[in-house]
């Protein structure tokens, strides 16, 4: 089976995001970038398949600027077999999905795994859009994939249990979580990934129009600074609870 994972490079979750002076973007200067966490889960899920069946081929692709090569290297270091880069600066989600549709058409994977959403913009758009463009079945927020004859079983977590869906191949799923935490790359893996060739091509080479904006960002604002907390200390549990209820009603106005 061949699995393709479109991944996005995002500001690392440890970065304290700041709004840029233009008021419509964030400061990206000097920050740490990493693979979006749900994409990491997708990689781990695919690699777990590869562990079980070494004939599995796992490929990754990203649509992004030069720096997103690092994310591809990271994926290779974790154990992915192939990586390719589609060069683009600030491509809109629909343009990304269109570009990916071309990549999929060439690479002919049996299964495409996207993250359920990217941790920067949280739109959850690209996965379903790509499935739509390809005309493939789409299953959202999966936690496990099990191959079945000519098809895959895709597990989803729901309140109090899980559902198992079956999709004919080829199919696309978006990943919520893998069974294990995304693996830490081995050092030989890192070294091999450093030497591996990552082919790249510009977005327009795929015949995709970057400049077809479907929306624009009007403004970005940081959340208001939080005031200091309040500690209710004196009195027994009942009294504290009463004062808490009062505060929630009168001060926070949430009750």
């Amino acid at each position: 089976m061949k699995i393709l994972i479109p991944l996005k490079q995002v500001p690392d979750s440890t970065v304290r995001v700041k709004v840029a002076p233009d008021g419509t973007s964030v400061v990206t200067e000097g920050i740490t970038w990493s693979i979006s966490p749900y994409d990491e889960y997708a990689i781990e899920m695919a690699l777990e398949r590869k562990d079980a069946d070494p004939s599995t081929v796992v490929a990754v692709v990203t649509v992004g600027p030069e720096r997103s090569r690092d994310a591809l290297r990271q994926a290779l270091a974790m154990g992915c077999d192939e990586a390719s880069l589609v060069r683009a600066e600030g491509a809109a989600p629909l343009a990304v999905a269109r570009a990916l549709a071309k990549v999929v058409a060439e690479a002919k994977p049996d299964l495409v795994l996207c993250g359920k959403q990217a941790s920067d913009d949280d739109q959850g758009f690209v996965g379903p859009a790509l499935a739509e463009l390809l005309g493939w079945p789409h299953v959202a927020t999966i936690t496990k994939v099990v191959p079945a004859e000519g098809a895959v079983e895709l597990w989803r977590e729901v309140e109090g249990g899980h559902e198992v869906w079956k999709a004919p191949l080829p199919a696309l799923a978006t990943v919520h979580k893998s069974e294990k935490e995304p693996r830490y790359p081995s050092l030989p893996g890192i070294m091999k990934a450093k030497k591996k060739d990552i082919p790249e091509r510009p977005l327009d080479a795929l015949g995709v129009d970057v400049a077809a904006p479907t929306w624009t960002v009007v403004s970005m604002e940081p959340p208001p600074a939080r005031g200091g907390g309040k500690i209710l200390r004196d009195g027994d549990a009942k009294q504290i609870a009463e004062r808490l209820a009062t505060a929630l009603r009168d001060e926070a106005k949430v009750l």
Partner: protein
């Protein structure tokens, strides 16, 4: 040695025996050397490692540790240690006598001085001391076997042989005297003399007693030589090189993987991945169990047992050695990637060095454990998931907590602590470390240190967001690559600002920067905050006022104490605080201090087997019943662990964990 040169009968018996003696000697020592040669060849299956730096320190160690038996005479092992020392010293003296006896018996030549009274007396006295010590050892084995010691037949065989040697020695010395082997003016040694007087071997019978005791002695010596290399008592021989080739680099420094980007394999996955010295350690283990007695992981029910780590390697070497020698590449038999030690054992180690400290024959446990961890982490990527998270956080955020890199210096903004960029001529860099930078509890300690340094007029600056994790947790988890990246990053920053002197309030930062950064060319004068405070107080630059009178227990951080020998300065600081009465957590203090459970990257791993190490530490603290209301340490990780421990035990109102720096800062005027 009293030589039967005078009496006619004895000489006759003796002279005819020379060829037989020669053959027996040849067989006994032949068997010894044959086996020793095999063991040597197995040992050389290990990888190369140079261990010849600091030759004079090595000679000194040989005198102190081997001849002086220094590492045996330690709390709580004084009596057994002394018994062992007497057996050992007696053994040395008597070996000289034995060599003389064999040489004389075969070629009729005495070692210089061997015939005189001093020598006879020395041997005589030591023979008795050895017998007494053997009695102690036997009583101990039979009636009070120590929990971790492997009491096996082997031990009895060896003790029995030594006892036979001593008894026959005294007998033939006595009989020899009776037969008239006294030189002129020779005062008979006390015991042989007493035998001489009490048994009174007249004429023929003294010769018969001499004959049989002498031959029994000689045959036992040779049997001993033949048996020794099959036995754990080979340590009599192997301790000599093992002490000589012990690590002379600082105990707290792990070995560097050189040219890491161009290596193909990392760490130890098979017997051949250990160095010859690590294999020699296996031959040298006496199975005494002292390491295990002191291991906090074993004591709290983890699978790890440091003695087993050493013995598994030895047993595997002895088992697979023949196959490996037969097949130089040994790719297939035995499996190239196979070691007895299970990951669960290896991950339980806190690298506290209690084992290394306790081992009488200078075995280095931690390096083996970390080498095996290196394989798991670097080759297999199979470190525990929480440890992987910590490493990812170090990579991405520069601290294992994963707090934003840019906020590292935030604790100091309201204090107006300058960064090196703002104050390039600062004398000291205060390397804050991750814990004091991002952990709320430990930020208070950093603030306390700032107050102390300012009061004493010390010129210092910090690096704020330009500082990054020193790499210690990564290195001890086995991730040498990440350690090198972190270390290099800091070294580059230090270079940029011309940093020469470093203050660390964290013993892990202290140890890594002082002992490990030199491996990458970073040489600084590094001082732990408590060492500096001790100096400032004794130089009169810092005056500590009186606060509430209180009893404070001192908890030794492993990376200050055992790893760096800093036991006294933190205590001196406590003693210099008026009103503070220092309490020792006996017997688990100083070099026997019990780990808090956070070292070796354990801070970042789950601990769900057995009791938590920090909870045991709190129990020890409560057991001394000292009325201490605080427990002070000098390590942010100890502080976190102690805080968690008192909370879990519900004693946070009786005893409060603090850093010594907080006690000092609380008693100085602003």
């Amino acid at each position: 040695m009293i030589a039967p040169t005078g009496g006619g009968i004895i000489t006759g018996l003796y002279a005819g025996a020379a060829p037989l003696l020669l053959i027996l000697t040849f067989l006994g020592f032949g068997a010894f050397f044959l086996r020793a040669w095999r063991l040597y060849r197995y040992m050389r299956l290990g990888r190369d490692e140079a261990r010849i730096d600091h030759p004079w320190r090595r000679v000194r160690d040989e005198l102190v540790v081997y001849l002086g038996q220094r590492k045996l005479l330690k709390r709580p092992y004084y009596v057994r240690g002394l018994a062992h020392a007497f057996i050992f010293w007696g053994f040395i003296v008597i070996t000289i006598g034995t060599v003389d006896l064999l040489v004389d018996g075969i070629i009729g030549f005495h070692l210089p001085g061997a015939g005189n009274a001093v020598f006879a007396w020395t041997i005589d006295i030591f023979a008795v001391l050895v017998l007494a010590s053997i009695a102690i050892a036997l009583v101990r084995r039979v009636f009070f076997p120590p929990p971790r010691m492997h009491v096996a037949l082997d031990g009895y065989v060896i003790l029995g042989m030594i006892a036979i040697l001593m008894i026959t020695l005294l007998l033939f010395e006595g009989a020899g005297l009776a037969a008239g082997n006294l030189e002129k003016g020779f005062t008979p040694p006390p015991i042989a003399g007493a035998i001489l007087r009490s048994f009174v071997f007249p004429g023929e019978s003294s010769a018969v007693v001499f004959f049989w005791s002498w031959w029994t002695h000689v045959v036992t010596v040779l049997a001993f030589a033949a048996y020794l290399p099959q036995s754990k008592h080979l340590h009599i021989v192997t301790t000599l090189p093992n002490v000589f080739f012990r690590k002379q680099t600082p105990r707290g420094a792990l070995g560097l993987i050189k040219d890491i980007e161009n290596q193909e394999t990392f760490g130890a996955a098979s017997i051949r991945d250990f160095s010859w010295k690590q294999l020699l350690d296996g031959y040298t283990c006496t199975e005494c169990g002292r390491c295990s007695d002191n291991c906090p992981a074993l004591a709290t029910g983890k699978l790890l047992d440091p003695q087993k780590i050493v013995l598994d390697i030895r047993d595997q070497l002895l088992r697979d050695g023949p196959k490996l020698l037969g097949d130089a590449k040994a790719e297939t038999t035995p499996p190239a990637h196979y070691l007895e030690s299970k990951p669960e054992e290896l991950w339980a180690c806190t690298t506290c060095a209690a084992c290394v400290e306790a081992c009488p024959v200078t075995i280095e446990h931690i390096d083996k454990i970390v080498d095996m961890r290196r394989h798991l982490t670097l080759m297999e990527g199979s470190a525990p998931p929480e440890a992987q998270r910590a490493m990812t956080n170090i990579e991405r955020a520069g601290n294992p907590w994963g707090e934003p890199r840019e906020t590292r210096g935030d604790w100091a903004t309201d204090l107006g602590v300058p960064t090196f960029a703002e104050k390039p001529d600062a004398e000291y860099l205060y390397f804050v470390g991750c814990a004091a930078s991002v952990d709320r509890r430990n930020q208070k300690v950093a603030r306390a240190l700032v107050k102390v340094l300012r009061t004493a007029g010390v010129s210092f600056a910090i690096l704020a967001s330009e500082e990054t994790c020193n790499g210690d947790p990564a290195r001890r988890i086995g991730n040498e690559y990440l350690w090198q990246m972190q270390a290099q990053r800091n070294i580059d920053t230090f270079k940029k600002y011309g940093v020469r002197k470093v203050i660390a309030s964290c013993p892990h930062c202290f140890n890594t920067i002082a002992n490990e950064y030199p491996q990458l060319g970073g040489n600084y004068e590094v001082i732990h905050a408590l060492q500096l405070v001790d100096r400032l107080i004794s130089e009169g630059k810092l005056k500590v006022g009186r606060g509430t009178a209180e009893a404070v227990a001192y908890h030794d951080p492993c990376y200050l104490g055992r790893h760096n020998g800093i036991y006294n300065q933190p205590r001196a600081v406590l003693d210099a605080i008026p009103g503070v009465q220092r309490v020792e957590i006996e017997p688990h203090n100083r070099e026997r201090g019990f780990c808090c459970g956070a070292g070796g990257g354990r801070m970042w791993m789950e601990e769900n087997v057995g009791q938590r190490v920090n909870h045991r530490r709190i129990e020890q603290l409560l057991a001394i019943n000292s009325g201490a209301t605080k427990v002070a340490s000098g390590c942010p990780f100890c502080l976190i662990m102690l805080e968690e421990g008192v909370g879990a035990k519900g004693v946070q109102d009786q005893i409060r964990p603090v850093d010594v720096l907080e006690l000092v800062a609380g008693r100085i005027e602003n």
